[in-house]
């Protein structure tokens, strides 16, 4: 187990997440992509913590990333609910008011 190995796996997770967030039409599926990206960040921070500087400050940073993930999912579900109420849809393509 090396730092490079951990970071490669994290990069793969982030890349899969980028694909999902960009390509999925259903809002919840796009959120799944975002969450995969944050999972990759979690793994990368954990690896950097363990292999470079295993002191408590790095763990606190991990906790912040975890909190960001929680906020993302809660706010994301709320926005998806709002979208469903207002437009009767769960697709990103139907939520383009700002674009038009």
């Amino acid at each position: 187990m090396t730092l490079e190995g951990v970071l490669m796996i994290a990069s793969a997770l982030i890349a899969v997440g980028v694909y999902g967030a960009l390509s999925q039409q259903v809002v919840v599926m796009a959120m799944m992509g975002l969450e995969l990206m944050i999972a990759g960040v979690l793994l990368a921070v954990g690896g950097l913590w363990w292999f470079l500087s295993p002191d408590p400050s790095g763990q606190v940073l991990l906790l912040v990333v975890l909190a960001a993930m929680t906020v993302e999912m809660a706010a994301g579900f709320a926005v998806a609910t709002l979208l469903h109420r207002r437009a009767g849809t769960d697709m990103t393509d139907m939520a383009a008011e700002l674009h038009e």
Binding site: M1, L3, G5, V6, L7, M8, I9, S11, A12, L13, I14, A15, V16, V18, Y19, L22, S23, Q24, Q25, V28, M29, M32, L36, A39, L42, L43, G46, G47, W49, W50, L52, S53, P54, D55, P56, S57, Q59, V60, L62, L63, V64, L66, A67, M69, T70, V71, M73, A74, A75, F77, A78, V79, A80, T81, L82, H84, R85, D90, T92, D93
Partner: protein
């Protein structure tokens, strides 16, 4: 022992990435949700192998709960049995694939080419206790801000997702006088 952890970490990583890919390969939301749950459990297990005993467990617990919420959400809004409805809902497939490959190449090149420094300090025996002491001592400001952000998230969730609140029915002053003007639904309390 070293080889064992390496193998275990490799398996966790492969499961995480593999089920992450499956999330977007499966054509039903239910299977995608389970695949995402598996990806997060594998990520949490990988964190456990990196000696993050508390945060790894938190990731696993939180994500299993989140997938349960997602399942409820699907049943609520998709109005169908999500396991039985095949679907392909993808836009700008090629651009997304290109971006993903580019992101992976850049990040992997960074991981492999950066001359990472040597580890500076030895990990302590009591990693979880250290974390607890840090967020209740020297890093308490972080914990305070996370607490406020979480409370704000609760408010955001309720405000965004509630359909029709007392402010719609009774007006902004809650006295009923401005209800007619403020109520988009033209209902009012009376």
């Amino acid at each position: 022992m070293e080889i064992l952890t390496t193998v275990a970490f490799g398996i966790c990583g492969l499961v995480a990435v593999g089920s992450g890919v499956l999330v977007f390969v499966f054509d039903s939301m239910a299977r995608a949700t389970y695949a995402l749950a598996l990806a997060f459990v594998a990520t949490g297990a990988a964190l456990l192998i990196l000696q993050q005993s508390y945060l790894g467990a938190v990731v696993i617990l939180m994500m299993v709960m989140e997938m349960a919420v997602m399942a409820v959400y699907m049943v609520m809004f998709m109005g169908m049995n999500p396991a039985l409805m095949p679907m392909s809902m993808v836009h700008s497939h090629r651009a997304a694939l290109g971006s993903a490959v580019a992101v992976f190449v850049v990040l992997a090149a960074g991981a492999l080419l950066v001359p990472w420094p040597e580890r500076r300090s030895a990990p302590s025996e009591e990693v979880t206790r250290d974390l607890g002491n840090a967020i209740m001592g020297s890093h308490m400001l972080v914990m305070l801000i996370i607490g406020v952000v979480m409370a704000a998230t609760i408010v955001v969730g309720v405000v965004l997702s509630s359909a029709r609140t007392r402010y719609d029915r009774l007006g902004d002053d809650l006295d009923g006088r401005s209800a007619e003007r403020d109520d988009a639904g033209r209902g009012g309390a009376r």
